[in-house]
Each structure stands twice: as structure tokens, then as C-alpha cells.
């Protein structure tokens, strides 16, 4: 199963208004990999994740998840993805159980009560299952959001700075959600937390100004090396690749 590409991004460019956010990004992620996107604010990490999640249309280029684009088979793409973004996407007036039940039904899952209970158990929320989400702390909301994202057992889990504001226990839950290393689930996460990246990710991609500037394997680096490579990536200007400049004159 290794070698199968769960994510393929080719020449992805996205502009918000007139401002380009992603400029010709190429990315390939094999099944079972945990990939971290690292870069300064405004580098395009969130936008790239949202493009993978299908929430933003590519301006140019292609995004393939599990071999399909949103155009060719949107339903397969959506079923393959679990997304946890900055906002919890939960209803404050509904209980934890009700929130999960809604999503389970939206995904058309059979035996959805079982899955909801399983999700609550997996993230230690059984005790508060009948409390409204508005009463939850940040950490608990994140756990509930994770439970929501994993209800339909997606092949690809996308996390946008999901570890911020989580205590140690919640961290462990988060890592446990990744599944086994090399296992069926693929994870792409964006993070500022290099320690978390070292812990949770196999590969790291450095983004700057909407371009991929480097890609390394965490296993090949010592503890401080990651920080150094990050600093390097920020220092060197992103190289315009030969033959890829886009413009009227070309």
C-alpha cells in the first residue's frame, strides 16, 4: 500500500482577491505519511489545507485527493477527508452527542448511534456528552471537533493548528487520532509548534510566500536541526523555478 498517493497537488495557485496566496505549489503525499506544513504567518498553510479540504477552488492547477478531484468525484473526495480548522464548526446550543449525531447523519453513516458513542469514548467526552458545546473549554471543543472529523473514518485527516491551546492529555488524544505510523490514515497538518511537528510528523514541508521551499524527513534530523532548517528556509528567498514563471510575456 505504500507508494499510493493520497494527496497530489500540481501547480496549485490561489489568489484571494488580487493577492496571490499560493503560487504554483506541487505536493505529493503517500498513504500513511504524516506531513507537517510549516511556515510563517501568511505563507499559505491554511489556504493549502482548505484547498485540500475542498473548501476553496483552485485558481490554477489541480488538487487530487484519493485519486479524484472535486470536479471528477466530489463525493468520494469529501468522504475521504476529515478537517479540523481554526473554528470548531460546532453548534454551541447543541450537546456534544447531538453535534456528532448531526454529522454522522450528514455523512450518511449507518449505525450512526454506535459511531457517535465510539467517537465520544475515543476522545474522553462521554461524561460531558449531554452538555451543550457552549459550556466546553477550548481543549474539549478541539477534542469534539476531532471526534467530528473522524466519525466517517476518513483516509485523510487535515489539521490546521489543531494543537494550539491543548494541554498534555489532549495532545496525546490528538496524536492517538493519527493512527499507527504507516497505517491507513494519512495526516497533513499545519503548525507553528516545532516540538509537536518533530513528535507527530514524518515529513516536513516548508512554505514561504505561497511556495514550497524545502521538504525534509524528521527522522533524518536531530532535535535542533529542524529549527535550523526552518530558519534557513525563512532566510533564503524562494527560488522561482525555471520555466514556471507565469505571465503574458512568456
Amino acid at each position: 500500500m505504500r507508494g499510493e498517493l493520497v494527496v497530489e497537488v500540481r501547480g496549485l495557485s490561489i489568489a484571494l482577491g488580487d493577492q496571490p496566496v499560493l503560487r504554483g505549489v506541487d505536493l505529493a503525499v503517500e498513504r500513511g505519511t504524516r506531513l507537517a506544513l510549516v511556515g510563517p504567518n501568511g505563507a499559505g498553510k491554511s489556504t493549502l489545507l482548505r484547498a485540500l479540504a475542498g473548501l476553496i477552488r483552485p485558481g490554477a492547477g489541480e488538487v487530487l485527493v484519493a485519486g479524484c478531484t472535486l470536479k471528477s468525484d466530489p463525493w468520494h473526495v469529501r468522504r475521504s477527508i476529515g478537517f479540523v480548522g481554526h473554528q470548531a464548526m460546532l453548534h454551541p446550543d447543541l450537546t456534544a452527542r447531538e453535534n456528532l449525531a448531526v454529522f454522522a447523519r450528514l455523512y450518511g453513516l449507518d449505525r450512526f448511534e454506535e459511531r457517535v458513542e465510539q467517537g465520544l469514548r475515543q476522545f474522553g467526552l462521554v461524561g460531558r456528552a449531554d452538555s451543550r458545546a457552549s459550556t466546553f473549554s477550548r481543549g474539549m471543543l478541539q477534542r469534539l471537533a476531532l471526534a467530528r472529523a473522524l466519525l466517517h473514518d476518513p483516509a485523510l485527516l487535515l489539521l490546521d493548528e489543531a494543537e494550539t491551546g491543548l494541554d498534555l492529555r489532549a495532545h496525546e488524544w490528538l496524536l492517538a487520532a493519527f493512527g499507527e505510523r504507516g497505517g491507513p490514515r494519512t495526516v497533513v497538518l499545519a503548525s507553528h509548534d516545532l516540538a509537536f511537528v518533530r513528535e507527530g510528523a514524518d515529513d516536513v514541508v516548508f512554505l514561504r510566500s505561497g511556495r514550497v521551499v524545502d521538504r525534509v524527513r524528521t527522522a533524518d534530523l536531530g532535535p535542533d536541526a529542524l529549527r535550523e532548517r526552518y530558519a534557513d528556509a525563512l532566510a533564503t528567498p524562494p527560488a522561482a523555478r525555471p520555466g514556471r514563471a507565469v505571465g503574458l510575456a512568456d
Partner: protein
């Protein structure tokens, strides 16, 4: 492993979303409370704004009633989408393998139900305040048809207006011209139901029905173009 494939079943999706929205509203009572108070307030304030002698009350009353419903409705539509944006829950829906039209339909149904609740509370108060006699069957039928028309257009327009800079202004500016047929027909049919006019209400009701069908169908088809993906 989820054994489900492809798109989730349409009506199940609509059901789930309507249930979700109504439950949410039941717990917070945010929109309903405001809507009812606003409708009742409109009925009362208009009484001061327009000098009503007892004999002419039933001629002017239907118009006042529907202005009240229209304003309360617009308030409600605007709030429902504002809340969706604030919580980011629309993204949650867009991630799911559901028909985009189902999102529209569920929202329209919820809005219609909420509007109907506001109207059911307002109508008895209206009849009392303005001292009119009502043929309740006709009155309720007219209200129902008019509400469907107003809500179907209102939900679509509110979805658009929610993404604009001056959203509180854009909603009425866009919606009111489009829903003139609803207002005209509803007011006329209501006037008949109150005995203020003795014309045939049937053509007006047919017009409302035609508007409802056309507007729901059109809105359902174009809704997906409002979404960003």
C-alpha cells in the same frame, strides 16, 4: 470503515439540517423572540403612524399586517445566516458529501417554520388590535402561501447579503422588489378574508402558488453558485 458511498440521501440531509436548526433555535430562542416582538411592535406602532378610524381599519389593516411580517421575516433571515457565518458551521456542511441544494432547502424550510410561528402568534393579536373579523381558513391559507414565497426568496437573498459589506441594507434592497407579487397578492387575499373586499380571492391565491413554485425552483437551482467552491 464507512460503507457509505457517494452523496448522502437528499431528504435525510434536509431532515437532519431542519432538525438541527430548529433544535438550535429552540434552545437559544434568539430569532424567534426577536421576530415576535418586532412583528407585534410593528402592528402597534403603525396604529399611531396611520390614523385609523374604526370603519376603515379593515382596509388598511392587511397592508400593515404584511409589512409587519415582511420586516420580521427579514430580521429573521438575516440573523440565521449571520449566526452560521460566526460559528463557521457552514464550512462543516460544505465538507460533508451532501447536495448543496439541500442546504438551501433546509434553511428555507426552517425560516418558513419560524416565520409561521411568528405569524401564528401575531394573527390573533392583530385581529384583536384592529378589531376585524376573519375567515380563519382563508386567512391561514393566504398566510401560509405568502410565507412560503417570501421565505424562499428571502433565504436566497439573505445568503447573498450575508457576504456583502452593508448586509443589513442589501437584504431589503434586494428582497423587497422581488417579493412585490407576494405582498400584493397576500394583502389582497387577506383583505378578502377580513371581509374588506368582496372580490374573488382565487386568482390571488393562484398567483401566490405560482410565485412559490417558481421561486423555490429557481432558488434551489442557483443556490450552489453562491457558495465558494
Amino acid at each position: 470503515m464507512s460503507r457509505a458511498n457517494g452523496r448522502s440521501p437528499f431528504f435525510r440531509t434536509v431532515n437532519t439540517l431542519v432538525w438541527r436548526d430548529l433544535l438550535s433555535e429552540y434552545r437559544s430562542r434568539e430569532i424567534l423572540g426577536g421576530g415576535i416582538v418586532f412583528a407585534l411592535l410593528t402592528l402597534v406602532v403603525f396604529n399611531f403612524a396611520i390614523d385609523l378610524r374604526l370603519e376603515s381599519a379593515e382596509e388598511v389593516a392587511p397592508g400593515i399586517l404584511w409589512i409587519g411580517f415582511a420586516f420580521a421575516g427579514m430580521l429573521a433571515f438575516g440573523r440565521s445566516f449571520a449566526a452560521e457565518r460566526e460559528r463557521g458551521t457552514l464550512d462543516g456542511l460544505l465538507l460533508a458529501p451532501i447536495d448543496r441544494g439541500a442546504i438551501y432547502l433546509a434553511r428555507a424550510i426552517t425560516n418558513a417554520i419560524l416565520m409561521c410561528i411568528v405569524e401564528l402568534v401575531s394573527l390573533p393579536v392583530f385581529v384583536a388590535l384592529y378589531n376585524v373579523r376573519a375567515a380563519w381558513g382563508e386567512l391561514l391559507l393566504t398566510t401560509a402561501l405568502g410565507t412560503i414565497g417570501f421565505t424562499s426568496a428571502g433565504t436566497l437573498v439573505a445568503a447573498i447579503a450575508a457576504n456583502t459589506r452593508a448586509r443589513e441594507i442589501m437584504l431589503p434592497v434586494l428582497l423587497l422588489p422581488l417579493t412585490v407579487p407576494v405582498l400584493i397578492a397576500s394583502v389582497k387575499a387577506t383583505a378578502v378574508a377580513l371581509g374588506a373586499q368582496s372580490v374573488e380571492p382565487l386568482p390571488w391565491l393562484q398567483l401566490l402558488l405560482a410565485f412559490d413554485v417558481i421561486m423555490v425552483a429557481t432558488s434551489f437551482l442557483v443556490f450552489e453558485y453562491i457558495l465558494d467552491e
